[in-house]
Amino acid sequence: MPSAQKPMRYGHTEGHTDVCFDDTGSCIVTCGSDGDVRIWENLDDDDPKSINVGEKAYSCALKNGRLITAVSNNTVQIHTFPEGAPDGILTRFTMHVNHVTFSRDGTKVAAGSSDFMIKVVEVTDSSKQKTFRGHDAPVLSLSFDPKDIYLASASCDGSVRVWDIADQTCTTSWLLLQKCNDVINAKSICRLAWQPGTGKLLAVPVDKIVELFRRETWDSQFKLSDASITQPLNVVAWSPCGQFLAAGSVDGNIVVWNVETQQCIERYSVMKHEKKYSICGLAWHPKYKQIAYTDTEGNLGLLENIGDAEKPNDKVASAVAKDYNDLFDGDDDDYLNGDAIEPPSSPKTADNEDDADDVVQPLGHVRRAVIDDDDNSLDIGLIKASSSLLEKEDDADDGVGGLSALPPTSTQQPFYDGPMPTPKQKPFQSGSTPVHLMHRFMVWNSVGIIRCYNDEQDNAIDIEFHDTSVHHATHLPNSLSHTMADLSTEAILLACESTEELASKLHCIHFGSWDANKEWTVDMPKDEEIEAICLGQGWAACATNALLVRVFTVGGVQKEIFSLPGPVVSMAGHGEQLMIVYHRGTGFDGDQCLGVQLMELGRKKKQILHGDPLPLTRRSYLVWVGFSAEGTPCYVDSEGIVRMLNRGLGNTWIPVCNTREHCKGKYDHYWVVGIHENPQQLRCIPCKGARFPPTLPRPAVAILSFKLPYCQVTTEKGQMEEQYWRSVVFHNHMDYLSKNGYEFDENAKNLAVKEQQELLMKLFALSCKLEREFRCVELADLMTQNVVNLAIKYASRSRRLNLAQRLSEMAVEKASELAAAQGDEEEEEDFRSRSSFPIIFLTRQFLCACFRPKTGFQMWLEENRANILTDNPDLNEAEVIKEGMSRFRMLTSEERMVWTEKARGGRVNDSAEDKKRKRPTAEEDEVKKNQEQKSEDTNVSKKSKPLDQSTNNRLSAFAFKQS
């Protein structure tokens, strides 16, 4: 296959450019003086991905999904690749950086700047820097020894130096180049390069030749030159195999030598223009025999199949070259083969690429999330965590990047795709903003606000109470530099980390005290750091890094002390309750693995939650822990989900609000400051484009409503179901309070019950309308006795006899259950308690009597049904009517007249009822009348039920009362 040279194409605006391949060689990355980094899938890519990295980009390097660029603001920046999201600044110089390069394993970056300095920086920890001083002029280019021992550099002072990386000393120095005062005046940018693999040779472009220096001896081994080179060489680049060396000249020529034979194997004159622009970027494809190059006009070009003419025996190379041709289609070879014929190896390559993408993308995503945090200047002590997060990600990337760089000829890519451990989140105080801020909230809760100012003039703490009647606002000097605070209606609790001389301190200002000494301080033992604090009623607690929780009285008496199963995340106190969230273990894939303990520190000390797992949204962390004003534990995660302890369902956690649903923008958040159950209020501060509010201007509190994530809340049914369960959940605290002997508002409870029952009744009516009688019964099961009776009335009035009957059966059952329950308590009064319940035992008679205009016969039948039934117990309904008919006919005409008259009397009432449908009095009258009739006719109906009468009375009384 002959070597091919494609025409150059526009890449960047005129000016210095740089080029490199990504690890797999699937795309070309260029940077230029327009400040953009472009990612080209191939040379024909008309829509390359552009990343703006600065005003001007001087150099770029790419490894392990990290794009390092040297930009005009004198910094070296990291971007993620291929997403291009900024990932921080690696290092800074006082002048712009001329060249950046990765070490072979990608863990270090070397940067040479116009301020004569060279720095080698750990990619994962930019604080680990090594500075190399010695050049007396701007540094032109750098090259890492593949064995990571040496670093070579070329400078405008004419010297090429080799440095020992470990002790930052200059190992050797040659004066090879022409001296100049600045990069722009340099004849050549002298991009030197070590031979890959062994690092045996260092190639330095020196004027029109390439000089190769031997490692360790540092003497000139040999020189490569060619007659075609008429101008100084700018760049040299080794092929990844270390066999070939390419050099680009300032007049746009590229020459390739075989280093072993020292033969020139390819010569290109890449310039079509009159003006010969110099080649300033040269990069070999990591696997194939291609060279990508850029010139100072900003053009990008590609040379393919280099050395193929000379070495056709290299099978792997030619095979992969084919792959490559397919990838970068448009090759003449492809045209010859015909587009329809695909080389069999191509899908594999594609697969490999896909795999690589699959692995890289999610990681990039995680990183982006971290960056989001960065933008918001990070909250809750995560500032440190994020750097460790980055580290982890980098580690992960290393693994992936290194492996994806494997040649595609291997059939399987054995990369680690198991779950990655998540860095543990740092401890935080609920309602605080990050510690590193100069002006921050130390706490904002339902009692007040503690602000901390830490600037040049002042280091102080401002305490302000929402309710000025609790205590007046206070201003304290922050001489101990407290970082944690909590506030209750009786005390202020502050804590600081230890310094070199001073131990970690807990400082309490008990303004509720009636004596003169309102403050107390406790020093932690040596090497013990307070990590979280909280205040309850009459007690204070702190958790330390020794995995201890120390409880104090609010007056300063040391009380209980106990061990935590893991490092604390946060604590909260309310009344007697103490809630501690800690790390239960290591989370994976971005999840945190948290546990929660809830205990009561009252007279009867007990643990309610014994270190249960704390459910969090996936890939989120905890941002707020606390209690509702009524004392129900709640917490908020970084995805804005508010969860509350549902004491009614075995102490499970129920999501009660998604604050992100209320946000307008993607980056808006709500910063929760308090939760109230009655009235249902989620108090929070809207933060535009941030996770937490600034101290100035003073943020205003907004109130969000709660919403349980029930299905189909757009429908009436879903809405009412959500309302019902929300009401239930948000009134659980009353049961808890009453159980623990606190006083609470009976009235509120009654209101809540009424609200719930009303909702049930509405749901019942809705289900009735939808002909869902089974559902009606299910709903009735949730109702109280009184409301079941109403439901029975509703059912019978809407002519659902079957339903009404079932309900009545259920009501009886319920009543007996209740009675049994009561009977257990007062056994001797069993009978009375049973009868004291207003049970409606519905029969057809009753229903008919109530709600149908009746004929005389019907009335008669009602009275005599029992008789008929006792006579013929196995008759069915139709037969009973038949039998009744025949018996009715046997009556005398006068008797029949009497019955008809009665029926008419009933009808009068009926019409009255029609007129005032809403008023149950008519109905009641009717019921009463029927009863009177019944009592009159006791002689006729042998078996009148005593229960019937009382229930009817009760029902009517109830109906009257209720409506």
């Binding site: 109470f465 929402h466 309710d467 000025t468 009647s469 108090r683 205003a700 509190v701 907004a702």
Partner: protein
Amino acid sequence: MEPAEVEFLAEKELVTIAAQFSLDRIHLIGGDLGPFNPGLPVEVPVWLAINLKQRQKCRLIPPEWMDVGKLEEIRDQERKEDTFTPMPSPYYMELTKLLLNYASDNIPRADEIRTLVKDTWDTRMAKLRLSADSFVRQQEVHAKVDNLTLMEINTTRTFLTQALDHMYKLRTNLQPGESSHSQDF
């Protein structure tokens, strides 16, 4: 109408405060207010807000428009257009004066706000004088002026109406033929 009376009317406007005390819902003739929870925003009439503020029982949360950026926009818009532009509140002048006098510590950049509102006011008053002038010059019989607030109307009402009356009288006296008719009224 006295300016004080206009101010009295303006005091009925609702503003948001963050109470620093706890009080149940209160029932007044004008409607129910509250409940007041410490730290929570609640809407109250200006008169109550000022009263509470004076007793240091609340913190005022300035109305949305009382913001330097928004007021600059309003001022620029007012200067740009020949007609009156709608104001953020029908009592913007009164509210600014009241709130800045009593609760300037709760309003960020209070002085700038004062200046901006005054600028807007001056622009509008100039426009009003100008339109009155052209109205008189062109001897128009009627004119329509939109987006004027009560306080603004109030500044010119007494003078302009009386002046127009006088002018009418003077004009009719110049034309003796018609004067007799007008005298009959």
